[in-house]
């Protein structure tokens, strides 16, 4: 390690004031602090010792929590492909196929995002922050498996620049960066990120007879307009191929969808990691699931169409609700930041997701818009929680 340290030391003068690359000091520092935790010490006054956890470790914890979803996503992309084209394939083939589809997306989202981030750090002269470690992974996981790579690049640039850097960088953004990327594509290039055709990669092969690429949410909505019970429609969907939308299949994630979002189980494993490590707020996660379930029950009670009559627990495993609640809604920067606020914020995300799904045919996937909407409302929620705190203090004074 001494050699690497020496290497850094030897190139350091170039980056210091007066050096030929002094503008790029922040990049030098960014890379050095990834290789080595810095030799900074506490100041003469104030806390003389500091906690061993830093933001890098917090962020990497989130990335690790997403890895089960990523691995499952890679496998499922292969699984869905071979199901659709009607071939039987071994585990290795599925994984290989999945890797070929997913890795380029991951590389583009990280590569483009980091370059954008570096350019901003150099221009604005602020330190390279670790926030994009998480965003880069999230962006890849919420994309359909064969979205054009240039769209990923464009969306990533948009999300990093307009979603984050214009507000001042990591910690300052109003909207969740990855959701901003997805919403950008959703509205700018809807053909590649919505409908029935984008979730399963067929390649140059033809789909087997009777195959439908619709997602569970799409099937549910379609059934409802035809007036057939949603659960039946889900169960009979692609049943001939053994890929029906039973509750269990949807819970496990053997369904078409964005790369990382299909498996509720993997999202829950992520949730366990995040909650156990204390990195994400359990209040938001519990509130999100609880809110969705409660709204599902309310819909059941009203039940004016078949979709509303669908059992409430189906909402929890369909679409990206689980992934969104666990990984997107809990982003501490764009979420509510007061403890009471987190409950309200989580529950409302669950509510909104189900309301958007069931009542709005244009947007079958409710979680994306629900998270973005609540990102915008989070400061308002916090405002009232903070105001209550101030009021308690004021009332105390007059007693």
């Amino acid at each position: 390690m001494k050699a690497l340290q020496n290497l850094f030391d030897s190139i350091k003068p170039n980056f210091e004031k007066g050096g030929k690359w002094e503008k790029f000091y922040t990049l030098y520092e960014g890379h050095r602090t990834i290789a080595f935790a810095p030799d900074l010490v506490t100041k003469a006054k104030g806390a003389q010792i500091k906690d061993a956890t830093d933001l890098k470790r917090v962020m990497i914890t989130v990335v690790i929590a997403m890895i089960p979803a990523l691995i499952f996503g890679i496998l499922n992309v292969g699984e869905q492909h071979f199901l659709a084209v009607g071939e039987t394939a071994g585990f290795g083939d599925k994984v290989l196929f999945g890797l070929i589809s997913v890795l380029p997306i991951l590389i583009v989202s990280y590569g483009v995002g980091l370059v954008t981030e570096f350019i901003f750090c150099v221009v604005r002269n602020h330190p390279v922050s670790e926030g994009f470690l998480v965003s880069g992974m999230l962006i890849a996981l919420v994309m359909p498996p064969h979205i054009p790579l240039w769209q990923i690049a464009l969306a990533t640039i948009f999300a990093v620049v307009i979603g984050k850097e214009v507000f001042g960088g990591t910690g300052m953004n109003i909207l969740n960066v990855a959701m901003t990327a997805r919403a950008f594509l959703y509205f700018a290039y809807p053909a590649q990120i919505s409908g029935d055709q984008v979730w399963t990669y067929l390649g140059d092969k033809a789909a087997v007879d009777g195959f439908s690429g619709a997602t569970a949410l799409g099937v549910a909505y379609g059934a409802s307009t035809e007036g057939t019970p949603v659960v039946e429609a889900l169960a009979s969907h692609n049943a001939a191929m053994g890929a029906d939308f039973s509750f269990m299949n949807m819970f496990m994630g053997w369904i078409p969808g964005s790369i990382g979002e299909t498996s509720t189980l993997m999202a829950l494993i992520g949730a366990v990691i995040l909650i156990y490590t204390g990195v994400a707020s359990w209040k938001i996660i519990v509130g999100g699931f609880g809110g969705a379930y409660a709204m599902g029950l309310l819909m059941n009670a009203l039940a004016v169409n078949e979709y509303m009559a669908m059992p409430a627990h189906y909402h929890l495993v369909m679409g990206g609700l689980a992934f969104g609640v666990v990984f997107m809604a809990t982003d501490p920067v764009s979420a509510a930041q007061t403890e009471t606020g987190k409950w309200i914020y989580g529950i409302l995300i669950g509510f909104m997701t189900v309301v958007i799904r069931v009542t709005n045919p244009a947007y079958p996937e409710g979680i994306m818009l629900a998270v973005l909407l609540m990102n915008v409302f989070a400061p308002l929620i916090d405002y009232y929680v903070v105001k209550a705190n101030k009021t308690r203090r004021l009332q105390r004074a007059t007693v």
């Binding site: 010490v41 010792i49 061993a52 990497i60 330190p127």
Partner: protein
């Protein structure tokens, strides 16, 4: 009514290098110093002595032109050897080479039965014991012209490696009681004596009379007087309370009963880098060199006057702060660590459980150095400060209000109830490594001076 308050929020930092409850045979300190920077709120310090003057314990050395009743006096008798100034002639230290035998200035005993409040205040102010009284809000030296709504004494220190007052104040019972009696005359309200509810209360506190004894239990910062005030009788806008440490109470008691400024006290010499730890009897402002030199495990250390959360870095020949009752020596942390941000560890202390941080499974003592373990970042993680501040205050919003210099918000969010030590744990646990104590002081100064 005495109160029993159980606190849940907070974090006990279990450091290596505790002092056993016995007096160790350290050589006694030769030189002593008064550091005007210890006294918050001093605006224009003026020195009353010159180098070469001889002083007695209790001879005025310094006063603040903005509050000239209060005198800061020599803790020992001896010769003024140096008046050290820094940039822009800022007064840093006034050093005294101590006599072998301390001679005391005769300040006159105080008959608490007869003395009225104003005379008592004047007496305390000119005798040198006054700076022990700290005013809340702001955490500055109290103004003798004010009358506080109550006086609060925290009878235990919950900071890492902190001295045990039950041990250090042994034999001072009568002085402690006399000090309490004097304090009772300074306020129309109550004198609160807050003891550790999780342990046996030392006799000196349990037998105290004329005070309200409240019990606090829970992890640090349960021993912080600011936290205690918040739960007993919080400070609202326009109100004043005073706080004082038990050591200060004893100093006042010695003035009352003996008529002298006797700043002798027992301090704890602690820290993982010392070969020998223990308690030692010395005097306020002592040079630490006789306790730490030749007593180190390693060469590269940081000597701290006070504890690791709120203390101040001093040199090996440095002097104890006026309010500090311990010296702590820990390793200096100026090293790089390969992949230190992701390496799994059980030996590095962390409040968090992020990936690889297994210190919560390690129930033993930790050896912690001064490395920051990361660089400064904007606030990202939410809800962390709230877990270590047992007050109905929203620290993140308060910090943001100070950064934004929003006066109304600072006031409304409770800056009157907070001083640096109350956010010391927030500063410790912050994954974004912000200097929160410094921030709080800058906010207080904004409120005070503008």
């Amino acid at each position: 009514m005495s109160k029993l308050v159980k606190l849940k929020k907070g974090f006990d930092i279990n450091l290596a290098g505790k002092a056993a409850l016995e007096l160790a045979d350290f050589a006694s300190a030769q030189t002593f110093a008064i550091k005007p920077t210890d006294f918050l709120g001093i605006q224009r310090p003026k020195v009353l002595v010159n180098e070469g003057d001889t002083v007695k314990a209790g001879t005025p050395i310094l006063f603040d032109k903005a509050m000239d009743q209060v005198k800061y006096v020599a803790p020992v008798s001896g010769e003024i050897v140096e008046v050290k100034r820094g940039e822009k002639r800022k007064l840093l230290e006034i050093k005294i080479l101590a006599d072998k035998e301390t001679t005391f200035e005769d300040l006159g005993k105080i008959d608490l039965g007869k003395v009225d409040r104003d005379t008592l205040k004047a007496k305390l102010a000119e005798s040198g014991v006054w700076p022990n009284l700290i005013q809340r809000p702001y955490g500055i030296v109290a103004n003798p012209d004010d009358t506080p709504k109550a006086i609060f004494i925290s009878a235990f220190d919950s900071n890492p490696l902190a001295p045990d007052y039950g041990f250090t104040l042994q034999g001072e019972e009568q002085y402690f009681q006399a000090g309490l009696d004097a304090l009772a005359k300074l306020t129309d309200g109550k004198v609160h004596l807050n003891v550790d509810g999780s342990k046996n209360v030392p006799a000196i506190f349990a037998n105290a009379k004329g005070v309200e004894i409240n019990k606090f239990s829970g992890p640090h910062p349960a021993g912080n007087v600011g936290v205690q005030i918040h739960h007993l009788d919080p400070i609202n806008k326009g109100e004043l309370a005073w706080t004082i440490s038990p050591v200060g109470v004893v100093q006042i008691g010695k003035l009352v009963l003996n008529g002298v400024f006797d700043a002798s006290k027992v301090i704890a010499v602690t820290g993982s880098e010392l070969t020998k730890t223990g308690y030692v009897k010395t005097v306020t402002g002592a040079s630490v060199s006789s306790f730490v030199k030749g007593n180190l495990n390693s060469g590269h250390v940081r000597v701290i006057s006070g504890n690791v959360l709120t203390g101040e870095k001093i040199s090996l020949e440095g002097y104890m702060g006026f309010y500090h009752n311990q010296v702590t020596v820990i390793p200096e942390g100026d090293y790089e660590e390969f992949l230190g941000w992701i390496k799994p560890t059980t030996s590095k202390l962390s409040f968090h459980k992020a990936i690889g941080m297994f210190s919560f499974m390690n129930k033993g003592e930790f050896k912690v150095d001064t490395n920051t373990h990361g660089e400064e970042r904007p606030f990202v993680v939410s809800g962390v400060f709230e877990k270590v501040l047992p007050m109905d205050i929203l620290p993140t919003y308060l910090f943001k209000a100070i950064i934004a210099e929003d006066f109304d918000e600072m006031e409304e969010l409770g800056l009157y109830e907070i001083v640096e030590e109350d956010v010391a744990l927030c500063e410790f646990v912050d994954p974004s490594k912000n200097e929160l104590q410094e921030l709080v002081r800058s906010g207080i100064e904004l409120l005070m001076y503008s």
